[in-house]
């Protein structure tokens, strides 16, 4: 069991080292997400005390599309350096590669969320200390990363790679988006746990299903 974790961590850490050296990419995704917030605010003539559902939707659109842009890169690095073949030569279970990459995607999305969310809260004059929002974001991001990592591996070997990832990813991830937006709105309004708990449980259930299915199916994607 320890060995598995070590291997997953190795893949994850290798990616981290690479990404840290190319800070421009993470930075550009952040700028993009913030731009989205701004454009939406102008497009919908948003006032500070807008309905929470709309604000919640805007946050999640920004996070979703920021994620879509980022996921394209997860396997792009491997392809560019033909390292995937090298990775495959190691006698590891294919799903370990998936989990290693998954950890990287998760951290990436988390980084984006950590920067974008406070800016969002400030722009909309919402309270800054919202631990429940943090919980929702972390859980939803797990779902995003689970699906995004899998489809990144698929899209990378396709001709229209940049457009194929969103086309694959977005319809599948609709349940998580719906649940996340519905859970976030009462949190922004400062309401009690009630509904929020239901939606949180739904996100967790979806995450588990996505993770299990993706783990099972990943080996078929990268076999060559």
């Amino acid at each position: 069991m320890n060995e598995i974790f070590t291997r997953i961590f190795a893949i994850f850490w290798k990616d981290m080292l690479i990404e840290i050296r190319s800070k421009e990419f993470v930075f550009s995704v952040l700028v993009f997400a913030i731009l989205e917030l701004v454009i939406f605010s102008f497009a919908f003539s948003i006032r500070a005390n807008m309905a929470d559902m709309a604000a919640s939707g805007i946050l999640w659109v920004a996070l979703t599309f920021g994620g879509v842009i980022g996921f394209n890169r997860i396997f792009a690095v491997e392809k560019e350096n033909a390292r995937l073949e090298g990775l495959m030569l190691c006698p590891v279970d294919r799903s370990i590669i998936y989990w290693g990459k998954l950890a990287g995607s998760f951290i990436f999305m988390l980084a984006v969320a950590v920067v974008v969310t406070p800016i969002f809260l400030i722009l909309f004059n919402l309270p800054l200390l919202l631990p429940r929002l943090a919980l929702i974001i972390v859980l939803a991001i797990i779902g995003f990363a689970a699906v995004g990592t899998l489809f990144s591996a698929v899209a990378i070997n396709t001709r229209a790679r940049d457009i194929m990832l969103p086309i694959l990813f977005l319809p599948i991830i609709v349940p998580v988006i719906v649940a996340a937006v519905k859970a976030t709105a009462p949190v922004l309004a400062g309401k009690a746990w009630g509904d929020i708990l239901t939606w949180l449980q739904i996100i967790i259930a979806f995450d588990i299903i996505y993770l299990v299915v993706a783990t099972l199916v990943f080996e078929f994607v990268i076999e060559e």
């Binding site: 070997n157 001709r159 229209a160 194929m164 086309i167 599948i172 349940p175 649940a179 739904i202």
Partner: protein, 227 residues
Amino acid sequence: MSNKRALRDNALLGLGLVLMVAALYMVFVYVPTEKNMGIVQRIFYFHVPIAWVSLLSFFITFIFSILYLWKREMKWDSVACASAEIGVVFTTLVLITGPIWAKPVWGIWWTWDARLSTSLVLWLIYVAYLLIRSFATEPARGARYGAVIGIVGFIDVPLVFLAVNLWRTQHPTTIVFEGGVTVPMLLTLIVCIVAFTTLYIILLVQSANLKIMDADIKHLKGMIQAE
């Protein structure tokens, strides 16, 4: 061998024709007009079976995708792909006939209720299936990636339905038959479902055979060029 197959195909075609004519009769002659919605309601008798068949076809794609990843025989992939194509065609029909029915009856083209929304997402998922196959760099890869999406996509469908359903029960709306469902209506519906399922099978057999032939021809071509 091919005579038996021709016989079977013709029998299937004949059955399909008979069922379709029966369905048309029931829809336009037999069943009385529904009280509240008037004559437009008859769209329902084709709209629902088409929706059912589209779900069936994606289920078939799911099963045969698994079969293909397991056995790796091209013919399983051909069936999966053919079924997905037909599924997209039928889902497109659902998305077109639904609004045509809704506009005169409820005054709106579209509503984000669970069934319509899931149909739309379904359409998007399986269009992605077809796109990934056409954008793949080699057919074998296309088959493999398609199979993955055929599996993930189908598992996702109940999730989408659940999420949207829960979302919408907070705004209850939609499509109930206020006049109640009578026996003639049910009978007509059942005949139409059987008729459209038969149509699906006919289309599936044709399309899958074409794809298998196509794969065989490519294979033969490769062998000949090798000499």
